[in-house]
Every structure is written in structure tokens, then in C-alpha cells.
Point group: D2
Chain length 379, copies 4
């Protein structure tokens, strides 16, 4: 049966542009889907970089103005992989043009923008997804399954960390093509939007909504050279580190922490959930594993179980290789894309959608506000 073509228009050729392009190339090779994405057009401002990018990844055409991309009749779906300060305008325009919209995280510069986007999307009634790709790590998807199976029970505690160490040197510049995540004007915030947004999205998914937070942030290196002109040094306005206490709506206590100054931690995105009946622990640096403690086990064999999440009965894994053969970082995007396409096919829209991501954005906003006010803030 011939596939239904879904004409994609991607904005951005950076790290995420590459990850998404790879997903469009691979999804139908590993998943049996009604829909097939077509790499119709990729859009970015610098044509000299854009052209070879398009050629390498098989994009049929290029655009240098995202408005032009949205106007094109041959584009069904806009995929926003450009810096955070562009998300709002593109998403709203795309929705108004009736396009489906996929958007990288964090959803927006702040919750106000996020609300505007979500309302535009919902008003247009278009299919949409926000790329919180870690929900598609098989071990995290398995965690969600175990929660849904009732294996955790009443939740007492949640703790999440997202630790990196790549900005400790004062020589790392800010801003520009590849380092805009260090520029508050482009990124909105530092680790809060870039890393904690992931942690918060996972937390809400696994343990429900967050009621209030008490936060602190720090910028350890106060000034950095700019990437585009290293002779110019500017104040650093992002949060290098952020930690917060939280209360879930269900009463559970939580701690969250993120930094790019944890020497030796490369991409240590962890969570632990402690419930009456069981506990779970995950670490993205060992992404193929989920740790599970089951209180129902016989007492003398109680223990934390390391589940090697590579078997065919584990989420997504029947699409990949054989037991014991891991998948990697890029597959989280392919799995997410497959879920989006399946959502179109089945009529059950994929999650997280813009509304979900707005919820996460609101927590981020409350966190940053609390760090400023030095008081507990309601989400």
C-alpha cells in the first residue's frame, strides 16, 4: 500500500536540524506506518551552510525566510528547530496558515509566549508535538508504563538532576551560531529552559502536576567573549545552574537541579521516584537501563533491579535490533516522530503537545521567578 506523503518543512540546520533530518530519513525504515515524511524544504538564513546541509540530508529545496516556507502550498508540516527566540512567531504563523507544527523544546522564551502559541495551535486545530525527545528513551517510556501499571503507588518523593560540565572554562564564548544557548536574549534562560525543561516534562509525565517551587540560580562566570567577535566580552545573563524544591499536586516532595558546572558529568539526566509500592531510577548516561525496586518481591530478595531495556517487549525496541543491542541518542527523535505519525494515523494525537509543553514552561517561569524573589512561587 502506498504511503501517505507528509511534506515537511524544517527550520534550522543546527544540532536539532541534524537530529530531525536523520529521523525523517530513518523512520519508515524501522516503523511500519501509513505516513511517510517527505524532506520537502529546509530553511535557515545562511545559504552557504544551508545548501550543503540540504544536500547531505536529502532535502529537496531550501528557503532562507521562514515566512516564505510557511506560505508554500507544498508544505504540510512545519518543524521548528531554530533558536528559542524564534519559536513564537513561527509557530503562530504556521498555525494560522493551517500547517501542522512540531516544535523543539523549550516551547518558548516564557509562558506568555507559550500561551500565545498554544492558543494559536488549538484555535487552528492542527496536529502538533513538542520534541521532548527523552520521553522516547525506551527506559523512560518503560518507567511511565510501570507507573501506569500501578507498580509505584502513592508517590512520596521525586528527585531529578541534569548535570553537565562543558561551560566551566571562562574561555567558552557565548552567543552566535552554535553557542546561542549561552545567550539569554536568544535562549530565554540557561539550564532552566535547556535542561530542566526536560526534567520537568518527565516529572509531570510520571508524577503529575507541580504546585509550587522554591528556587535558586547562579551564574558562575559573569562575563564571556562573544562567539561572533571574541574581542567583545559581554555580561552573561543566563543561569549556569539552577536548583529548586517543589511540591507536586499529589503532595509529593521533589528536588530538581541542573548545572553545566558539574565536573565529570557529561549528560547526567537522572530521576528517581519513590512510592509506597516501588521505586524507579534512571540515568541518561546509562540510557539503556531502568532501575526498579519492587516492594512486593519476597523480603530476602528485595533489591534494585537493573532492567536492560533492549528486549522486544520493551517500548519501541521491537522496531530495532535484538536483545542486548542498544539504540542511541538519535533514536529518541525517530521514536518520537513515529509516535507523531501514528497519532495522525490513529486519530489519537501524540503527547506532549503544545498544551503540555506550556505546563512545563509555566514551571520554568515559576522557578526563575522564585530565584529572583527568593520566595516560594505557585506555578
Amino acid at each position: 500500500m502506498p504511503k501517505k506523503k507528509l511534506n515537511m518543512g524544517l527550520i534550522g540546520y543546527g544540532f536539532m536540524g541534524r537530529a530531525h533530518s536523520n529521523a525523517y530519513n530513518k523512520v519508515n525504515k524501522f516503523f511500519d506506518l501509513e505516513y511517510e515524511p517527505v524532506l520537502k524544504a529546509v530553511c535557515a538564513r545562511k545559504e552557504a551552510i544551508l545548501k550543503p546541509f540540504a544536500e547531505r540530508w536529502g532535502w529537496e529545496s531550501t528557503e532562507t525566510d521562514w515566512r516564505r516556507l510557511i506560505e508554500r502550498d507544498d508544505i504540510d508540516c512545519i518543524d521548528i528547530g531554530s533558536p528559542n527566540n524564534t519559536h513564537r512567531d513561527i509557530a503562530v504563523a504556521a498555525a494560522e496558515a493551517g500547517k501542522m507544527v512540531l516544535c523543539e523544546k523549550p516551547l518558548a522564551m516564557n509562558a506568555a509566549e507559550g500561551l500565545e502559541m498554544t492558543e494559536a495551535i488549538e484555535k487552528a486545530g492542527v496536529a502538533n508535538m513538542v520534541w521532548f525527545n527523552y520521553r522516547r528513551v525506551p527506559a523512560i517510556a518503560l518507567a511511565k508504563q510501570l507507573v501506569d501499571e500501578g507498580r509505584i503507588g502513592r508517590v512520596f518523593h521525586y528527585r531529578a538532576k541534569y548535570l553537565q560540565d562543558w561551560t566551566i572554562s571562562a574561555d567558552v564564548p557565548q552567543g552566535g551560531e552554535t553557542l546561542w544557548r549561552l545567550d539569554a536574549d536568544v535562549a530565554g534562560s540557561g539550564v532552566t529552559g535547556d535542561l530542566l525543561a526536560h526534567s520537568i516534562d518527565t516529572a509531570i509525565w510520571l508524577a503529575g502536576g507541580i504546585d509550587k517551587v522554591s528556587a535558586m540560580t547562579e551564574t558562575f562566570i559573569k562575563e564571556r567573549p562573544t562567539q561572533d567577535d571574541p574581542s567583545v566580552t559581554r555580561e552573561v545573563k543566563i543561569d549556569d545552574a539552577c536548583a529548586f524544591l517543589a511540591r507536586f499536586n499529589n503532595g509529593a516532595l521533589a528536588t530538581f537541579e541542573s548545572t553545566r558546572y558539574a565536573r565529570g558529568r557529561k549528560n547526567q539526566n537522572t530521576f528517581e521516584i519513590n512510592g509506597e509500592k516501588g521505586s524507579l531510577f534512571f540515568d541518561l548516561e546509562d540510557a539503556h537501563q531502568l532501575q526498579y525496586f519492587n516492594h512486593d518481591d519476597d523480603e530476602h530478595v528485595h533489591g534494585w533491579r537493573t532492567i536492560l531495556v533492549t528486549d522486544s517487549e520493551h517500548p519501541y525496541m521491537d522496531h530495532w535490533w535484538v536483545p542486548g543491542c542498544v539504540i542511541g541518542y538519535e533514536h529518541t527523535f525517530i521514536n518520537a516522530l513515529a509516535d507523531f505519525l501514528q497519532g495522525l494515523e490513529t486519530g489519537t494525537p501524540v503527547r506532549p503537545n503544545f498544551r503540555d509543553a506550556l505546563g512545563t514552561q509555566r514551571v520554568c517561569d515559576a522557578v526563575l521567578k522564585s530565584a529572583r524573589t527568593e520566595a516560594w512561587e505557585k506555578v
Copy 2:
């Protein structure tokens, strides 16, 4: 050369009384010391339990009134292993009687008591120590050594957890002989004084003083039967769980968390310190190991190193067995006692002393206050 005898008077025959008695029996078998503790007298109220305890551990005599014990001329040193609400009166009286004083942690019910005790001790000028025994875990002592060697550098982050799960069931009673730690009137607080006091003592030792905190606490089970009379149910007033954010005086950010509701965690006392030059991680459930990341290693072999802290060049270990042979929980008390006795011998008093423990108590007080005020509190 004959040993100098140090006549001990121990108060308490509970879990700590047992650990201390064992230390007095063993210290001279494994350490070459000028002093030898003599198990002169043990004191507790219930004679029916006290007598067999004394016989088992080799205490020469018993007392049922601690005031009587302090009055005895043949006692050089009072060791307070009784519940927290007895510490102040005993310590002050012992100091005033010119006895050396060892005291279990937490120092007191609160910092006001702790100050009174510390002033009495310092006025009397008697040798003293507070049993924060985990400083004598060889791996933690090694961590301190590595910090002092300058291997961590400027500290950015500190994070500590102390997780247990033994009070999740609502059937666990409170109060009484063995469960007074669940009774706020006797213990002063819950996990804050019992568990976080350990974490805070270690943190201050490794990373310096704490400036301010923002905390939250929770009591998950609101009522429990009493141990002495299970037909009587009383409100639970201790903190079952406590988490707080902190700022060190040196600017480092910290998170601390403790609970007895972390299903699957038995005695998971962990800390991680991230500095410019290196990082350390410790978990009491793997107490024989210290994890160390050294940024000075060649880049392609950067990695977290698991140091098996059992070699003769590691703290305390030349007194025990051979490489690869671990020591256990009880040895932390023996090591601490050896340090105390060596302090007497060398004239360099052991740490932590009452003044140090008062500093930890002040952090505990600020934490509990912050949980009530829902505001940041200075220590």
C-alpha cells in the same frame, strides 16, 4: 609500656550504647595508643536490661542515675549515648564536674541547648568529641584528604542525600525504648536531626560553612500508635522527610534531602562535590568506595574512578586487614575513638568537638525554621 587508663562512664544501652561498648573493647587491639579505655560503668534507667548488657560487654559496674555516675571519682570521661532530650543536662553537668565528654549526635534538641552545652564544655576546658562517626568512614576521610590536597579546587556544587525507607508502614509505632527517634519530644526532630545532621557535618567538613537555607518538610503518616502502649495513637510531630537548598559561604550551591520514605533505600547517605579541578561522590551503601573524577587526567581517559578504599595508604586502613578486605559500620566508632585517644596523646584535640557540632545544629535549626516560615533563613 603500660597504658594510661581512661575510665569510661557510658550512658545508654541502646543501639549507640552497643556500638560504643564495642569500640571500647576493640580500639587497643587494632591501634597502638598511649591510652586504654576502661569499661568502668554503664548507666541506664532499666536495671533489668542494664545488668545483662553490662555483663555482655564487660562493664565493671552499673548506675541507674546519670547524676550518680558523674559524681563518681573513678570516672574520667562521660559518654552520652542516651536519647537527645537528655544530652544537654548530662553534658553540662559532666563538664561542670570536670569530666571529659563524648556525646552522640545530634548534639542537642536545638541550637540554644547546644550553645549552653558548648559554653559549659569550653568553660571547663575538658576534652570532648561529638560522635559524627561517618567522618571516620575511610572513604569519607579520604575525600577530606583529597579536598585538602587541592584536588577539587573552587567548589561549584554540593549535593547530599540521606534516604531510608523503614517508616513507610503506618503500623510502625512511635516513642518508647527503641523508637524514640519517631517522638519529637525526645528526638527534637525527625530526619533533620537524625540523618541530615550527618550530611551537614560532612558537608561543612568538606566544603565549609553554610550561609542560608530554604527548606521544606513533610510528615506523611500523621498519627501512629505508641510503642509503649499500642492502643494509644498519637499525632506524629517529627519530620518524616526534609529537603533544602543551601548556599555555602564560598558561594557554592547545595541541595540536601533526607527521608525515611524512599522505598528501596536502606541507608543511602550520599554526597557529591563538584569543583573546578575535580569531583567526588560517596554512597554509604557502598561505603568501601570513593568515586573521584580528576580533570587533570588525559582527556581521552577522563572518567570517574572507583577507589577501593582498603589499602594501607588509605585513612585508618593500615590498622585493619589487607587490601580488598573491608571494614564495616562498627569500625567508624572504633576509628573515632582512636582519634579521640590520639588527641589526648598528642595534645591536638580531635574534631568534631562541641563547637563544631553546634555549627551543624545551627544549620538544622535554620532548616526547620525555614520549613515553617517558607522563607530563606540565614544560619
Copy 3:
């Protein structure tokens, strides 16, 4: 600059056919190479399966007779991904036709076949590679680099395991489309050729040639139904498990073991090498890590270091994502293919070639012979 096209003809559409097809699709997206493989033709006997396979993976044409594929002028390179009992005839014919030849492991049914193939390849002087893909696990490639840097020194010990558990049930059939690895007539041997061949290839690469072996094998389930006709039960002739002692030419002692009956082990391919100056440990179930013990470290911080092999200075990783982001099983094939293509580009042929694989085959033959003779056998 336009790429040089390399027209590929793949034989086999099974597990390996899929892994290789994926590699052809992806290699130029992640590596900057002079050559670009073209998916010209795929060949297998069952057209009903072959056609959709070709369509899914983008193969331009299909063949059902491998002789016809070799005859085609538009094919530059034959890739043998079919069962072991077909390797010899295809490889010899392809070499005689002047085609480059890639071949899955094990090289052949036995060393006699392997020698015939190697001589044909060398006589023809064609580019060739055997897909011992695990050499391209970044952590294993890093192990090789550390050995070459002299960080291990004189080798005392080598130990390797390759443990799985998927054939414990007597209900698993043998033979047929997907289970030919359990049929000795098609596979040549059981775990020896399938799993230990990997272990041996890695061992020789890291520690040099093997002089002699003493082996034992076992077939735990003596009879199994056949896959094609479950009503027919046949004797199982493969080795379910194999363990052997070995001496390297350099005097080092080694143990090797493989089985498909190690309950709980999914794809646990491990090796450890102990040398005078250092040691290494690897486990394919944690493929992103290499453990390294460096005797030159200061004594009190001696420890096994867990190297997270995801940084850009690690082998292959600058082609993939960012630090902390792992690659998976399939990437070992892409890395291997890139190496092969770079070999064509630079004139330094890739390894392992047929001659290398023949060396591994000879060890396998000696192992199987020793298991029969119950005596030490020279390789």
C-alpha cells in the same frame, strides 16, 4: 566535490542485511568521505520477502541468484550477509570476478574454506573486509588505542565472555529463515563461530596471536523442532556453550567462554586485559563505557576509571552527537563501513581483512578440535 560512487551488491536480507543496508544509507550523512556507496542491488532467494526489503531500504534492483549478481558489470563490491555455508562460494566467485568483497563473520564454515577464500581474495588483489563490527564500538577502539599507547605494558591475563540466554527453552526451533544459527549444517558451529569469533578477533587485536587452546563444549538441549516444519524434531549438532583456556604467543594466560544458556545475560560480550602497567575491562551491555585501571596514578587514588566514551576525542565520536549522547549497535556497522571507504581513499586497507579473519577461524577450529580430542591443540 562529487563523490566517487561505489556500487554495492548485497547478498542477504536477514538481520545483517538490515544492519548493512542501514549503514549504506547513513555513512555519508555522518562521515565526510570521497566515496559514496550506491545501493545498486540486493540478492536473496525468496522474492516475496526480497522485494519489500529492497523498497524499504532503497535498493535499486534485486537478484535471486548470487551468481547473476556477481556477473553484473554495474556492481563494484559484493557484500556477503547470507548464512555461513554460502560464504566460501560467493567470496571466491566474487574475487575471481574482480569485485571488492565484504563478508560477514565468521569468515567460513572452517579454516580450510577460509584459506581458500583468503587465497582467492589475495590473488585477485581486491579490497576486502570482514565485518567484525565490534572493533568499531568506540570503547573497544579506545581500548586498542590505549594498548598502542603503551598504557597496559606486558600482558599477564586476558579473559573474555560472550553470554546470552535466548535458547534455554527446548521449544526454540532450529534451522530455517531466522534460526539457521542453530543448524550446524548451515552455521558450521554454534556459539564458537557466532559469538566466540567476535571475542577471539578482539583478543588477537588487543593482545596478539593465540598459540594453543584447551576447550570443552556442550549441547544442553539434544533435540529441537525444525523451524520450517515444527512437527519434525532433529538432533541439535551445534555447540550451545564453549569454554576454553588459551596461551597467547606472548605468554599471557587467557580464558574464553560463550553460551546461550546464561540466564539473565542478553549480549554480555566482555573482555578484561591485565598488564603490568594497567588493566582494561569492557562489557557490550554497557557499550558506551570502558573501564581503565592505571597503575601510574597516585597510590591513594588508584581506582578503576569508568570512561564514558562519548566525547569528540574518542574514536568515531566526533562524527556523531555531543558528549554524553550515546550511539548504538547499528553504528558499529556504519563506523566499519566508513573505515572501509577511508581505506579505499587513503590506500591503507582496512582491517580486519580476510587474512585476519582466517587467523580467528583457525583459533575456532582449534577450539572445536580440542573439545573433541579433550587435549590441548595448537592453533
Copy 4:
């Protein structure tokens, strides 16, 4: 109730003399037993060392001739902690004198001696035990319990390692007071008797008798200075390393390996047992843990469970501290002693006895013979 006194006579003041003396001091403090060992006399040749040893550990008297010790009427039980070449004569004489006999492992210099000893012991009908102390590691005792509960089922595989690295330097001397384990005339063999004897004892306990073996040994450093006179260099006759394949009587395949040349391994005594229904793994360097894989778990939560063997329902642990508080190396001797005393009390003799240890010795002999003959040898 007053304890029954058991008058002990210990031979040897080395590493084992210290471990046993500690056990005699502590056993009644932690176990409620009918019997109480009395430290009556310790015996060794060098009085200058013996006297302070006796004083430190509380031995009431000393002897310098073991024959004299055996003659003493006030000695009930002889404990042999002297070098291996003394075991036979002492044990036989002690048995003939009607004393109970405890003996360090390995039982003897060889199986012929071991048989003589065993027959003397059995003829005399005296209580006896061989100190294979690792059976009393709680995690290993738990492993035995799980096997006995039928949780492993039919055994397919057993693999054991015992790796150390303390003799890699050629400067380590042999022979003399503390290094007699490197002198074949005193020790009988190298790692085979010292380390593999432990592994074999555990293996037989967990998986049954061993039928035949194929072994290899190596002496990496051919000559070493002597400890007593460093100017004299002698040939090293012990096995520095030993590896062997084995078949259990039940058909299971096994690999065993031991060395003192595994750089970075301090006391890595491991075993893994793979059965139809489950698997177990243990590593003495993490002695507080047992790894358990239970095939009966739900498929999607299959995983290796890390059992923290510190709870009161675990073997021996109700005698020690609280959950999460580990015991150490020395406690294995105390637990063993408690078992011996309980055996006297209950009339069910403790294991392993001399007969059991003879079985282990026979495997050691077969291993050493196989290494010489380069052939499989029956046990």
C-alpha cells in the same frame, strides 16, 4: 545461665591468628550461645612476638611448642592458624589427643595429607571445622539459601575468579614470617591452595561436586629474593596464576581462574551461577551485595537485582547492626565461629568439616596435576 567454657589453644599469630583471636573476643557479644570460648593459650615459635600478641588479644598463656599445647589438659580445642606445612602433624596429633580441631584452609599440602588428617579426625570422632570463612559472608550464605529454595534450577554454568595484584613487582620477596605463601615448600602451592581453594569450596557448596578439570598454571616471576635474607635469590616454585575448566557431576560447565597479577584487582573473589530458573553473581570486593536474576519475574521487568544483604532477614545479619549497615572481613570469622559453637550446642555439626575440605583439596590436586600433564584429570 552461665556459659559452657570452651578452652581454646590457638597456633599461629600471623594474619589468621589475629582474625581468629578477634573472633574469640567478639562472638559472645553478638551471638547468644551456650558456649563461650576462653582464650586459654596461644602458641608460636618466636616468643618475642608471641608475648605482646598474647597480651594484646587477651590470651591467658603462651606456648612455643605445639606438641606441648596439645598435651595440656586445660585445652579443649586446637585452632590451627600456622602455615600449611604444619597442618597435617598438628591436626593428627590433636585428634589423637581427643581435642576438637579447627583448621585454616587449605586443609593440607596435598590430598594425601588431607586424607590422613580426615581419617584421624573421624577416627577420633572430634568436633572439627575448616575455616573457609567466605561461606559466612552473608551474601554467599544467602546465595546458598536461594539455591536451596530452588530458585536457580538446573545449573548450566558456573564461573569463578579470584584475582589479586600484590606480587607483580619482582621486588616482593618470598618465604619468611609474612610471605610464606610465596614459598612452595611451606604453602604447598600458590594461588591454587590460597585462593582457588576458597572458590572451589564455594562452588561445591553451591553447585555440587566436580568431576574433572583441565588446567594451566604460570609463574611469571621466576626468581625472587628471600624474605629472611634479601641477598639470597631463589627460584619461585609456586603458581602465580592458575586457570581451569571443569565439569560438575551434574553436567554443568565451569571456568575458574586465580592470579596475583591482575592489575587493579585487590581481592576480587567472584562467582556466577546460571541456572534454568535464575542466576546469581557475587564479588567479594562488594561483599555486601548479591546479584540475582529471577526468570519468574514479569518479562518486561526482568533484570539483575542487587540485594543489599544487610537486613535482619538475611543470614547472620540479625546479630549485627541495622539495615544498610555493613559488616566487614573479620565478621566472616565470627560468624563461622558462632556456627561451630552452635553445632556443639545443637548436635548438628558445622560444615565444612575436614571431609568437606578434603574434597576441595582433591580438586586442587587434580588441577595442579592437570597443569603438569596438560591433560584433563578426574578429581
